[in-house]
Amino acid sequence: MKQKTMVMLGVLTSAMIFATSGYASTGLHDIRASFANIKLVVNNKVIKTSAEPFIYNQNVYVPISAVAHALQASAKWVNRPASVFVNNTVQPVTVYDNGQKLPSGITDGKTFYDVPATDAAYVNAFGLTPTIDSSGNVSYEAQTPPSFAPGSTALMSLTPTKLIGDFSNSQLYPAGQLSGYWPATVLGTMYPGQFTIEWAVTPSQNAVVPGVDYNLQGKYTTLTGSFAIDDLSKNFNGSVQLTFVGDGRILGSTGYVQTGQQPVPVSISVTGVQTLEVQYQIKSAQGIVTNMGSTYTAPSVNPDGSKTDPILVTDFMNAALQ
């Protein structure tokens, strides 16, 4: 801020010093008001007021509504006795996490109830570290992210050797990238999306049930991960399963997984396997199975009434090779 000559307003603190008896008599009086294109600047921002401020008796006067607006306060007029009531609209809020008191939050009583989530007490209580960028975006990470056993290779770090069905559709999966579009959320719990293969079906659209091949070169013994229907497809009434095929031989499967089910753990022996294929199968509410490579036509409207939100989202999470 530029250096400016600042003269404190005369009456600032005299409020407390002078007694109250100095009020003028009531009624209509002509007053001498000095206008000088006075601007009201709050935190370096010029506040526009509907009526012009002026100086009377060495004080700058503004309409009460303008002051309240500029300072985010509420203003109330009471007729008897004639009074104005001004209050800060932002107030502290008491916060408890499982009965433990945390540093206070703030509210303006209507549009926000917010907490200082970057405070160490919050980071410890929730195990989540938020970072906030200058645009107001918030990114959370867990202190101990879900991860694989030490020494594992993320399946997502391998380049697929073959993409089948929807996975080969470059409009759905640019550059054959199958992960990292969304954090997986299953029964309310979020999982980082970087290591999650996501397959989604949109209402009314023809989906080609997908699959993907990886060249393991016989280097691994076990494939681990978990498979679930994402909360985005909360009320999808069908089910989906993954079948794992090694060099043309079925190694195992997740079984059909429904919505509202905890993630099904995957632990498949891949000892000596050169080509691993992950095949999807979908079973409709009526029990009709559609296999990898075949076309599945989704219901026209999903349960939340939307025709554009996905009707089904599947998550193959934390896929890793040991």
Partner: protein, 317 residues
Amino acid sequence: MAKWLRLVSSYAVGIVLGGAVFGGLTYASAGIRTLPAHFANIGIHVNNNTIKTTAEPFIYNSNVYVPISTIAHGLGASVAWDGKTHEVLVSDKNVATTKLGTLNYYSLPVYSGTHTVLYGGQTYIAGFALASVADVPYYIDSAKNTMYFGTVPQTGMPLRSFIDVRDYGDYAKSIQGMVGPDYGWTDGAPKIDGILYSNANSIVWANSGANSQVPGVMYNLKGNYSLLTGSFGLDDASDAKEEAQLTILGDGKQLYQSPWQAQGAPATAVSVDVSHVKLLTIEFSVMQNSTKTVYTMGQALPSSLHVDIDFADVRVH
């Protein structure tokens, strides 16, 4: 892959940005003018303190005029006058600056429209956003000016604070674009045998038309609670042609079943041990008096019946 957006809570939207609400009027020219001002011994109260000042408010041109310095000081701001530029310079750390942005988890978007508030030198994040990412229920008691995560000591956490993980029957159908259980009636609180219950914290259901299916809902308690309480009955607005029953399951096993409740009968007090229960399912059933036919969760109910079910003030402890 589609860039779909998750549902955004009402706390995450509707931010009113304090900005240029007031229009810019052209000001009068500078100089001294005589104005008719109405004085009425107007008192000033700021943040519940009575401010004693010789700078008296008055009414002019239908506006109440106040000395800005007095008010600003009362609100905790500092004020200075720049005589050269004719500016009143207010520095107020208690002005909240709100920004809208995207909520991310490991850099992947969860939903857009979350907000941050800079206030008093500290940045605050929506309580709802933290609860979403942490997957804990979240409840605001505005009367007590308190936010609760996880549980509410003594009174328990209202079940409505949890996100439904699966819906059944009418609850799985779109009502105004949203699925999920109905909490509270739009035209009054639950009333069972003449007794009124908390509207906001009650799961309710009324059938409508020929396609209504008896509903149910599943929540993920993650094994964090020991007791579920509430009051179950038929609302006095039901038509007395049926009885209703409540069944509660924990991880697929039946934990509780209420007696059949008739219209006008007192509510049944529900108190169920939910220790170690992860997935909690609440199911309703309806029995038609004339035929004794029972309609369980998911089954279509005849439109000749009018059922208003109340599972009132449902909480977990």
